[in-house]
């Protein structure tokens, strides 16, 4: 894993409340460039909310978030976000969607880039089909393509494997590997422990908003970690 450097992202005492519910509670977190961090946690633990806060899609109730991107400080075009929503226009075709986002991000040769990403996610076949008519997995593939389109430095992936078939997940795992080698920073939320452990250097467990465990992946074997996970979330999952 990359040598510790100035953190790319720092959260300090971040809290997000919805009325009485503490979706995110007192989260301190440092992510250095090149880190790959797997976030686990039971349903309703606050993982999605945490990512939304980091993506600055919603203001935290309290606490600070700092970015430190090399190059410009314009954080927005450095972040790639995969959410539970597809962020795609149902009325547009797969290609048109990617083309639109490519232009939005000011990518040169937008056409080529769009086609390239379609090929990468194995969607050439559905290039000119309305995304509204896509199957779930096809949509998910396009969602991933959209998020990776502008080669972001920081990837926020919220259950990216949802609905992907065998080919799809292998494909994406490959893509992630490459991105890691390129030294991109990855935050991966998933419910598949082994997957997360395999892909990421660091792991953390969130429960009821709080980070209840942080550690380095390499020290953990699947069985042992599962053990650990259940202990961590023992005191009442959701």
């Amino acid at each position: 894993m990359p040598e510790p450097s100035v953190p790319l992202l720092r959260l300090s005492k971040v809290t997000k409340r919805f009325g009485a519910i503490r979706a995110v509670w007192n989260v301190d977190l440092e992510v250095s460039p090149g880190d790959s961090l797997a976030i686990f946690g039971p349903n309703g633990a606050g993982k999605t909310t945490l990512l939304r806060v980091i993506a600055s899609l919603t203001q935290p109730t309290s606490g600070e978030i700092e970015f430190a991107f090399k190059g410009d400080n314009q954080s927005r075009n450095r972040v790639g976000y995969v959410s539970h929503l597809s962020l795609l226009y149902n009325e547009l075709t797969g290609f048109e969607n990617l083309l639109f986002y490519a232009r939005l991000y000011g990518i040169k040769e937008a056409h080529d880039r769009a086609d390239e990403m379609l090929a990468k996610m194995g969607l050439e076949g559905a290039r000119n089909q309305r995304t509204g008519e896509y199957s779930r997995g096809m949509k998910q593939r396009l969602t991933l393509a959209r998020a990776l389109l502008h080669e972001p430095q920081l990837l926020l992936l919220d259950e990216p494997y949802t609905g992907l078939d065998q080919h799809g997940s292998r494909l994406f795992t490959e893509v992630l590997r490459v991105l890691k080698q390129e030294g991109r920073t990855i935050l991966l939320v998933t419910h598949n422990l082994s997957e997360g452990l395999e892909l990421c250097d660091r792991v953390m467990i969130q429960n009821r908003g709080e980070l209840v465990f942080q550690g380095l992946g390499e020290h953990l074997d699947k069985a042992g970690f599962e053990e650990l996970y259940f202990q961590a979330v023992e005191e009442g999952g959701n």
Partner: protein, 225 residues
């Protein structure tokens, strides 16, 4: 990518989507025309009374497509969370505003002019160069309307009762542009000596500019919660 080009990318996207679902055009125009028919039915078109009320009727009919359009314009962005897609992009918020604004404006102009055409026919006004003044009023009104509407539309897009809330917020706000539009139109239709028409136009232009500025500056605050 330069702002102008970017704006057009946004506009192009919206227009393409609208084109894909033509319903939007037809329904809005249809309702507007229905209103004309209802009024036309309420009093006999020939009478002077009608002529007097005509401008009011026209503008009421024009409000319909406007509100429906605005509701739709952000509903599309909420369906799959694409609004977040826009917010996450490096595109300047002002540009996002202009993009939506222009799309709405273009859309409204097309629809409004169709309605106006129907209006002229239904109430058989004679086509004269005078009517071009009304077209001007419509265009100016549509601009201001889209400006405020886009701002407020983005604002209520996350609220559950948006369909109803939007008109409630919008209608009173746009008074400064609807008032001159109505009075201006009336003058033209009653073919009085055009005296205060210029002021109507001036007012419209002035407030269009104000709303544009306000929208451009404030849009950043209303997108993203």
């Amino acid at each position: 990518m330069n702002p102008i080009a970017l704006t057009w990318v946004l506009v192009g996207k919206d227009l393409k989507i609208e084109y894909r679902s033509r319903q939007a055009y037809l329904t809005t125009v249809f309702f507007a025309i229905l209103i004309l028919v209802i009024f036309n039915f309420a009093f006999d078109p020939g009478s002077p009374a009608t002529r007097e009320a005509a401008s009011g009727i026209l503008w009421v009919a024009l409000l319909f497509p406007g509100i429906i359009r605005l509701n739709r314009s952000f509903q599309v962005e909420m369906e799959e969370g694409t609004l977040y897609g826009l917010i996450l992009s490096p595109a300047d918020r002002g540009v996002l505003f202009l993009g939506k604004l222009l799309a709405n404006w273009l859309f409204l102009m097309v629809v409004d002019l169709l309605v106006f055409l129907a209006f002229v026919i239904v109430y058989n006004f004679s086509f004269s160069t005078q009517l071009l003044w009304i077209v001007l009023l419509i265009v100016l009104f549509a601009l201001g309307f889209s400006a405020v509407g886009t701002l407020l539309g983005a604002m209520v897009s996350t609220i559950r009762t948006r369909e109803v809330l939007l008109p409630v917020l919008l209608f009173p706000i746009i008074l400064p542009i609807i008032l001159p539009a109505v009075s201006g139109t009336q003058e033209i239709l009653l073919a009085q000596e055009i005296q205060s028409l210029n002021r109507s136009v001036e007012l419209l232009v002035a407030f269009d500019l104000i709303y544009l500025a306000a929208g451009y500056l404030l849009f950043d605050y209303v997108v993203a919660d």
